[in-house]
Point group: C2
Chain length 403, copies 2
């Protein structure tokens, strides 16, 4: 007998018909002799509707009360899914985050799971119940409701799989797996049968929307057997694991991130500690800096350029201008018309020429590269946003010729 | 410094504007130097909308899952009201039923409060927080969410007032107090300044909608200083207490209950135990029987007539027909065109002639009386429903001549 954790996102339970679709997937899995724990998100637009309700009353509510409000979204989903499973004639019980034992820190709106107390879960599983758990939510040490922030339900599912030593954690989405590029953007995009945790992680942080990087990090840390698959089509998805069986492809995917902006600080003194001052100021305001480029010093000055998420650009520019005198630059300039395009693949570690092949593809498509950043299994370039779709297609064609 | 419990129903928090109205009442009370605990119901139609969602998925869901679903209604209200109070600049915290320590039995959908663990409440009050509590909900010993059933939020408020030894429990509604009759029905209806628990209880069980009898019973048991008042107009309401200061009025109110039907079982054997058999059958199916009339035996047979809630009539008739042979009647007849009209007042205990004055008023209005029932402080009559409005006015005029 296996224990399987299945996670369904908001669009998978958006209406009564889809709730039944999920109920059938779950009960089929149970009927095959498995124990099943199901994690669900809030239905479709519920979270947005609740945020709207809150803003109408207070544009700047406390995060604690926001968590009390938002957590009802998943509570609605778990009870409705349980009712559908009851109707199909299977034993089922729904559990909120706190009932399922999710203990988190007190960072309301973006909490981290500290531990999961599995007594209730174990008890329900031993009674042969299908257990439906509200994703995205937990309880802090003061008995206050918390939420996990973006991608929280994925993280809930992986954490449950880790703590219960589940045989498999299936993340159901509206796509049928992980693709070599966004299928809506690239005609020849191919679904991957397998991908490593590290590759998935680089893809997740490079703009691919399939899995949130927090959940992938956790799956890697606890060696959770992860699968991404479709809730609408019954067919195998993409397996995410530590080592994939055969490293057939040089790269696993091409990802695009349009939520990026470039900032440059010009004419900084060419002395030690300048970069530290700049990036510690931004880190203190929780602004993530990605690609960093420092010009070679000349005339005892240098320029530093870097990328930040697009929605942090204005704040970052303001912070830097406010502190320009402390680190001694002449000017802060920003550009919000750029995109980051990345290729990811463990295969490139052992193959030379991957970067040059990427640059060649971009050159042939007459696309100018502003910045370059590399890791062991990823190469990212910053280009004009207007070129980003063309770039993804050109790179994809170069590495993965159409079948 | 006083501790005041304030309860607001669903219509009082139906939209953002009304939530602010409530927030202002609460913060004004707090600004006057009081500790304040606020109990709120689900907003307007939220509960009906949630029931609709459930029925779409499963017309007959388990009561446990229904409680998980319905309890989100109050959770939305408490967070929104807390956000409004934050906006007004006051310290506030919202608590769900389980966070506020409401421990109940496991009768899902209609639970009774067993006890309230006040540690969290005391803690929040000592921090000078306004405490917003979700009414209508609690937790059973298995850590499952329960709901209290009809009138549950009133009961939550009174229970909190009892356990915290509050100085006052204010129930805010859309009327400004308890009236001698329904003001929509009787032109000369007068608002009462004071009423006893027993009178309020008799009125509540006689069709007056102001307070649910469970909450009044609890207020009487724990001597909670209760006030019914309007959330829309700032003026004193009606005080409900053990003994009212001066017994000025012979009767306190005239109430009408249209949710009533009469059932008769004809030609029963005139032997002991027959009534017991009938009423224990109905009690087993939780059908409440109100007025009971037994005819004087003749030819060794008798008839028994009684009233039940209108929506229980068909079930009661079916049960009686199914068991007719076991108690030996000849026929079950029912009438769903009747109403119960009652007068209530502690004053009638010490005044003779109250009943005859009531019957005289009905006689003069040419209204036929089908059944009569009396308690120490109440007289009820069963009449044709078509006459009920006329009857309430005639009786009200007889006892409370227009000022």
């Amino acid at each position: 007998m296996s224990l399987i954790v299945q996670k369904f996102g908001g669009s998978s339970v958006a209406n009564a018909e889809r709730v039944y679709n999920v109920a059938r997937i779950v009960t089929d899995t149970y009927a095959q002799g498995n124990n099943v724990i199901v994690v669900v998100s809030a239905q479709g637009d519920t979270t947005d509707d609740l945020i709207e309700k809150a803003k109408e009353i207070n544009p700047n509510p406390s995060k604690r009360e926001m968590d009390v409000l938002l957590s009802v979204g998943e509570q609605i989903s778990i009870s409705l899914l349980a009712m559908a499973i009851e109707k199909l004639g299977y034993p089922v019980v729904s559990l909120t985050g706190w009932q399922a034992g999710f203990m988190t820190d007190s960072n309301h709106g973006n909490s981290r799971i500290r531990r999961i107390l599995t007594e209730r879960l174990d008890n329900e599983l031993s009674k042969k119940n299908i257990v439906i758990v509200a994703g995205f939510q937990g309880l802090n040490k003061y008995d206050d409701i918390t939420t996990l922030g973006r991608g929280g339900s994925d993280t809930s599912a992986v954490a449950l799989a880790a703590v219960t030593h589940a045989d498999k954690c299936q993340i159901f989405t509206d796509v049928d797996g992980v693709y070599t590029a966004d299928p809506r953007l690239v005609k020849g995009a191919v679904k991957l049968d397998e991908i490593t945790f590290d590759e998935m992680l680089e893809l997740a942080t490079s703009g691919a929307q399939v899995l949130h990087n927090r959940s992938v990090e956790m799956a890697k840390k606890y060696s959770v057997n992860l699968e991404v698959l479709s809730s609408l089509e019954r067919k195998p998805g993409t397996i995410v694991k530590e080592v994939v069986s055969v490293e057939k492809m040089l790269i696993k995917g091409v990802a695009r991130d349009d939520n990026v902006a470039r900032i440059s600080v010009l004419n900084l003194p060419d002395t030690p500690g300048v970069a530290f001052k700049i990036f510690s100021l931004l880190a203190a305001r929780k602004i993530n800096v990605d690609i960093i480029l420092q010009s070679i010093g000349r005339d005892n000055t240098k320029d530093i350029s870097f990328t930040v998420p697009l929605d942090n650009m204005d704040l970052a520019v303001q912070i830097l201008n406010d502190n320009l005198s402390t680190f001694g630059g002449s000017k802060v300039v920003s550009d919000d018309t750029v995109s980051k395009v990345s290729i990811v693949g463990a295969g490139m570690q052992t193959h030379s020429g991957v970067a040059s092949k990427m640059f060649e593809a971009l050159s042939e498509a007459r696309i100018n590269i502003h910045m370059i950043s590399t890791s062991e299994i990823k190469i990212s370039v910053l280009i004009d946003r207007a070129d980003s779709a063309k770039a993804v297609n050109a790179i994809h064609d170069a590495f993965m010729p159409a079948k």
